[in-house]
């Protein structure tokens, strides 16, 4: 009965929310003027057809996209408007088009510079049609084996391959120069002959005309370059209400200075279609408040629109929030734009617990808490002092050694037990001396010698094939995933299959020689192993996938030394940025680019200005990791409360409030020991060892596995699980780890019993130790009554158990 009532309640609530959503839809605006983008058109050649975006403005100055409703007409025979309302050149000269929308008229000057007949260019005029109509997509002829004996390169990444398939295959089966209309490549998509891919375009379409003309002109190959970049307008559209639309214009730029309006031929994809959808023709439609990227793809180049749907924000007034450093400035700028208000600064007690957990992996002890809360300095000063203390503590080294051991896959399965200890010590040493991050990576990349004497050399024992080393290196140090490119060009990125093998080739010269059973010697081969291109079967010479300004290869360097210099260069657009983003995610719970190790155009930064500023600051401070952590932790953004307000409760990507994070496996285990006062110890490890100090996952601790410690098989940040499961809850409620710790004879409760403190004092001590803060009056009274009733020992243990099982303990918030 109860459940039925609740169910109907849910349905009711759901209906209401739908009504509200509908009510939110844009009312018809009162347009007072219109304008176009661009404001005038210059048509450079006979096939340079261009479209116009039509923008309306209401009395308040707010703009509306009227492109879809506008009527476009020509005034002279110089130009012709086609069915898609594109302006086509017909005669050289000046003209105007008249754009009418919502009762307003705008005249747009047009200059036609050239109408000389020009043959269809294979790369620029012909191939884009195959992509737009999906011929070369992965489910059709772009599949690994093609379809029905006809195979194109996936999404058209290889024009020569496609030419061979279209023209050379089966002695010209697919075209007919004498009667272009009889060409198989035209009969198939028009369903003139049976085509499993169905009907794609008709005989009147632009695609048909261009393809037919290319065939009639003799199917000429061309080595014209593909575009170098896309210009998108508007680049960051903001839509107010559900249902509001915005047409995008896509201009492709070529290295020879040409440009084209390719809006009709580009491909659009919204990364979060719950926020906004996008049509095949590039019209964005708002669905609900939020942000999404719209990825635009055209002939191997990619562009990205950040779409913001504000939703109904009536009544919102921006209130300036304090700014402790540049981070807050960048974050607040974004929040103001989004019409979100940040939460207030968290309490000193909250800050203490949060920053201690984040920087050292441990919660504060009761003594530390008391000392911090009693510190009479102003809040901001003592917080900054605390950050410095934590960064200089030995626990900082342990905590970040664990992180780096995860990322570098320090695992005895690969490097044996001695290797794990050696590698761990090398990482510890590096962190303890705050080795600059570029130097840290450089030493790993260039490590040589006996892995016992130079433990950094273990890096090359973990991944052993050039391709594996490259995949791990790019994911960890560049935050990008190259692995898709092994079989074909990356479908959502610019990385190509050729680049995959060329970059791998830098590791072809790494030699490995066994030294006893525990160690190996890493050295440079005199004759590097050739890496073969998986697509062409030809050797792939070492080559970087992107150039780094200022970096010049020195021919005398062995390949991996060249790679190391290129990698750690301050100008490398991924190296510093990916680290900064990764560290940010450790402290704020979410990367500015997220996931942090999947940086790609289709996964854009939620706040690029913030990421750029952090990166620049990191580089300006010589890749100083402690400086980076200090800067983040000292920001007001980091110090915000997790409690949301009316204007930020729906934000989970713009850092307007703290995001509670479940303690990670090792953190949780160690926190239980700190909270209960039980001595540190992990089954199977020397006494005094904390969970975060274990050398690798081979030390069998089921508690840690249940809470998702990283098994160190892959460099993916996703290896470490932060999910919440029923088994975890049961373990926390019933498991021996917690009950043994609470009842430990050296534990806090036992100590309180020995000291014979009052129940009220006991409650305060337990709160301080478990939650790093004093109880409020209600909590204190309830706790005191309970402890009074059940006695110090039982009552105190019960209270401690209850607090450990509360979100305030299990989460870092």
């Amino acid at each position: 009965m109860l459940s039925l009532t609740r169910l109907s309640h849910c349905v009711l609530a759901f209906c209401c929310s739908m009504t509200m959503l509908l009510a939110e839809e844009a009312a018809s605006p009162q347009i007072v003027s219109i304008q176009t983008w661009p404001e005038k058109l210059v048509l450079h050649d006979v096939r340079d057809a261009r479209g116009l975006l039509v923008i309306g403005r209401d009395a308040a100055g707010k703009t509306y996209d009227l492109t879809a409703d506008a009527v476009v007409s020509a005034t002279t025979p110089h130009i012709e408007i086609d069915a898609e309302r594109f302006v086509n050149p017909r005669e050289v000269g000046s003209s105007e088009v008249i754009v009418t929308a919502k009762g307003h008229e705008q005249r747009v000057p047009v200059v036609v510079e050239n109408v000389e007949p020009r043959s269809i260019d294979y790369v620029r005029d012909f191939l884009p049609h195959l992509s737009k109509h999906g011929c070369n997509q992965g489910t059709c002829h772009g599949a690994q084996q093609g379809r029905k004996g006809f195979k194109l390169s996936l999404r058209g990444y290889d024009p020569l391959y496609d030419y061979r398939a279209l023209v050379d295959d089966v002695s010209g089966r697919r075209f007919n120069r004498t009667e272009p209309a009889q060409s198989l490549m035209l009969l198939k998509p028009t369903q003139g002959v049976p085509h499993e891919g169905g009907f794609l375009f008709d005989e009147q379409s632009r695609a048909y005309r261009d393809i037919a003309q290319w065939i009639a002109e003799g199917c000429q190959f061309s080595e014209t370059t593909r575009p170098v970049r896309l210009e998108l307008f508007p680049s960051a559209p903001t839509l107010d209400r559900r249902g509001e639309r915005q047409q995008v214009q896509v201009i492709a730029h070529y290295d020879d200075g040409q440009s084209r309006d390719v809006t009709r031929d580009a491909m659009f994809e919204a990364s979060n279609f719950e926020v906004a959808t996008v049509t095949k023709g590039g019209q964005i439609q708002a669905v609900r408040r939020g942000e999404t990227a719209v990825l635009v793809r055209y002939e191997g180049v990619y562009g990205n629109l950040n779409v913001t749907v504000l939703g109904n924000r009536e009544g919102f007034v921006w209130q300036p929030a304090p700014e402790f450093n540049f981070i807050d400035q960048k974050v607040n700028q974004k929040l103001e734009r989004l019409k979100a208000l940040p939460s207030a600064v968290c309490t000193d007690a909250e800050f203490l617990r949060r920053v201690t957990l984040d920087l050292t992996g441990l919660p504060a002890s009761a003594d530390q808490t008391r000392a911090f809360l009693d510190d009479s300095r102003d809040s901001r000063s003592k917080r900054e002092a605390l950050i410095d203390d934590l960064l200089n503590s030995p626990e900082y080294v342990d905590h970040w050694t664990l992180k780096w051991s995860d990322l570098l896959l320090s695992n005895r399965k690969f490097i044996k037990e001695q290797g794990v200890w050696g590698f761990r010590n090398w990482i510890r040493q590096s962190l303890a001396e705050n080795k600059p991050y570029d130097q840290f990576a450089f030493e790993l990349m260039t490590a040589s010698g006996n892995s016992l004497e130079n433990p950094a050399a273990n890096y090359y024992r973990i991944a052993r094939e050039p391709r594996e080393v490259m995949e791990n290196m790019t994911q960890v140090f560049l935050g990008t995933r190259f692995v898709c490119a092994q079989c074909h060009d990356h479908p959502f990125e610019k990385w190509t299959q050729t680049q995959y093998f060329e970059l791998s080739a830098y590791f072809g010269g790494v030699g490995r020689k066994a030294q006893g059973t525990e160690a190996e010697v890493i050295y440079d081969l005199r004759n590097p192993q050739t890496v073969m291109h998986g697509g062409t079967g030809q050797p792939a010479p070492p080559k970087f996938p992107f150039t780094v300004t200022g970096y010049e290869a020195s021919g005398s360097d062995v390949p991996r030394l060249q790679l190391a210099k290129w990698l750690v260069s301050a100008e490398n657009p991924y190296f510093a940025k990916s680290l900064v983003n990764r560290y940010w995610s450790y402290l704020l719970g979410r990367g500015i680019i997220d996931p942090v190790d999947d940086i790609r155009l289709s996964n854009p930064a939620s706040n690029p200005e913030l990421l750029d500023a952090l990166t620049a600051d990191f580089i300006a401070h010589d890749f100083d990791l402690k400086h980076l952590l200090r800067t983040i932790a000292a920001s007001q953004t980091y110090q915000r409360s997790f409690i949301t307000n009316e204007w930020n409760k729906d934000d989970d990507v713009n850092y307007s409030h703290a995001s509670p994070r479940r303690l990670q496996a090792e953190q949780l285990y160690d926190a239980i020991m700190v909270a209960t006062g039980a001595p540190m110890g992990v089954p199977g490890a020397p006494t005094g060892f904390r969970a975060s100090q274990l050398p690798d996952a081979a030390v069998n601790v089921p508690f840690l596995d249940m809470f998702g410690r990283a098994p160190r098989e892959s460099p993916c940040e996703c290896e470490r699980s932060s999910e919440v499961s029923l088994a975890q809850t049961l373990t926390l409620i019933n498991g021996p780890t917690i009950s043994d710790a609470i009842a430990h004879p050296q534990g806090l409760v036992q100590k309180l019993v020995t000291q014979n403190v009052t129940p009220k004092e006991a409650v305060a001590e337990i709160y301080l130790s478990v939650l790093n803060g004093l109880p409020d009056d209600t909590e204190s009274n309830q706790g005191t009554a309970y402890v009074t009733e059940h006695g110090l020992l039982v009552g105190g243990q019960d209270l401690m158990w209850a607090l450990i099982n509360s979100p305030a303990f299990l989460f870092n918030r």
Binding site: L7, M18, T190, A216, G537
Partner: protein
């Protein structure tokens, strides 16, 4: 419990939201557009009916490969009554439980039947675009604005005539390139192979229209009359070859099959089903009892003709990054050996019959390879005694043709002047010249003794086109 209910609520919200979005985005229902004969009805007839109702095999005297033929109907009367689907013959045949047609196959799907019904009720209009109509026939021979790609070349046994493929036709030229003798215009849009029978009586042509039909044409070499036009399968045929006694004609097909036709009767006497991709070329063994076939599936197969029994993969090893498998094969004129070429660009000589026990992945039958040509080998031919051969290759944007000496594997000549893919080569039976042609549409004749170009010509007359519109 509350949590589960919340999740349920979220699912419902998602489901509902999706529904709303679909409604908003959906284009008007398809019913708004009239049913299209060309795009919707014809493909059904093409796929499910025209196998038995086509010009070469008009079951019930009914042909369903064109609108006009459908209207005309067959033994049961006119195919349909426009506007009255229920009175139309075609509906009576395709509706029913089970329906009478298609015979021996699954009934049409309900939506296909509904579509045809709607089309008839809407007036049974023919909306075939002008561009899709094939208007070429012997009376209206093709007119060329650009030279067609040449895909086949063949010399007559007396070395007097050179047959060259055109669009929809075979062009007979003086073997010395001095003039056109005749135009053999047939149904096939694409010509894939041309062969003179060794006795000189026949010119056999394979081809068809891609994705529509395949055809074998047998022309009387003396009178230029079309004696046999046999439509086979729903795609083009390839790689014709006569048996040395001129009694049989073999060819491959896009349908992965190879067939042997009895020349006297036109009957198919053997069908080989062992390949898994299109069969590019065929050749008979010296004793004429076996057929050798090569395919895009990369295998060269040996089949006994009498029993249609697959004997052996002579080879199936074609390394190389390019696709295409094995594309050309010819038996040595005097030995049980075959010359083969394909996607790896290496001409190779093989023994037809195995002399060592088969092992997985072996290549025991290989006798020797020849210097690799750029790209894929599309065509090759021995001279009359097998001492030399000519071979042509295509590499997407370029091509090559060469003459090799068979026994010592010597490259005799790189034939100069090829700027595009070479799709066809032929060795003149008198051994004095070779012909090459391909993508650029030119026929080139070379002197075998010097490797020099003797002459080159376009096999068709060019009528300048009306200027192309932008």
């Amino acid at each position: 419990m509350l949590r589960w209910l919340t999740i349920l609520g979220i699912y419902m919200a998602l489901g509902n939201g999706l529904g709303l979005r679909l409604c908003a985005d959906e284009t008007p229902a398809e019913d708004a557009k009239p049913a299209s004969f060309y795009r919707e009805v014809r493909p059904i007839l093409q796929r499910q009916c025209s196998g038995c109702h086509q010009p070469a095999k008009a079951g019930g005297h009914l042909v369903l490969t064109s609108f006009e033929e459908l209207l005309k109907g067959g033994e049961a009367g006119a195919g349909l009554t426009a506007g009255k689907a229920d009175d139309s013959v075609i509906m009576q045949y395709i509706v029913g439980d089970p329906p009478e047609m298609p015979r021996g196959a699954d009934p049409l799907k309900p939506e296909q039947i509904e579509l045809i019904r709607r089309w008839i009720n809407e007036g049974a209009k023919d909306d075939t675009p002008a561009s899709a109509r094939d208007t070429i026939s012997a009376e209206h021979p093709p007119v060329y604005a650009t030279p067609p790609v040449v895909t086949a070349l063949a010399y007559s046994p007396d070395s007097q005539v050179l047959a060259v493929s055109g669009h929809h036709e075979v062009l007979l030229h003086q073997a010395d390139g001095t003039g056109q003798l005749a135009r053999l215009v047939g149904r096939s849009v694409k010509i894939n192979s041309i062969d003179f029978s060794p006795d000189g009586k026949w010119i056999a042509v394979t081809g068809g229209a891609p994705a529509v039909f395949g055809e074998v044409q047998l022309w009387d070499a003396a009178t230029h009359e079309l004696k046999v036009s046999q439509q086979i399968s729903f795609d083009t045929l390839f790689g014709g070859s006569f048996s040395d006694d001129s009694q049989q004609f073999a060819f491959g097909g896009f349908d992965n099959k190879a067939r042997v036709m009895d020349v006297a009767t036109g009957n198919i006497i053997m069908t080989l089903d062992a390949h898994s991709d299109l069969v590019f070329d065929t050749t008979f063994s010296l004793k004429l009892d076996h057929l050798i076939t090569v395919s895009r599936d990369m295998a060269m197969k040996l089949t006994e003709i009498k029993s249609a029994q697959f004997i052996d993969n002579i080879t199936s090893i074609t390394p190389g990054a390019l696709k295409g498998g094995l594309m050309a094969v010819q038996r040595h004129p005097k030995e049980e050996q075959v010359l083969v070429g394909g996607a790896d660009g290496e001409p190779k000589l093989y023994k037809i019959f195995r002399t060592e026990a088969r092992k997985i992945g072996d290549d025991f039958n290989r006798i020797r390879g020849y210097a690799v040509l750029p790209g894929r080998i599309v065509s090759l031919q021995f001279n009359a005694d097998g001492s030399k051969f000519v071979v042509g290759s295509s590499n997407a944007t370029s091509g090559a043709a060469r003459i090799y000496s068979t026994d010592d594997a010597k490259l005799l000549y790189e034939l100069p002047g090829h700027t595009a893919g070479v799709f066809a080569v032929a060795f003149r039976p008198d051994g004095k010249q070779v012909a090459t042609a391909g993508f650029d549409g030119k026929v080139r004749l070379f002197d075998v003794e010097t490797g020099q170009l003797v002459t080159e010509f376009l096999p068709v007359d060019i009528t300048p086109a009306v200027a192309a519109t932008p």
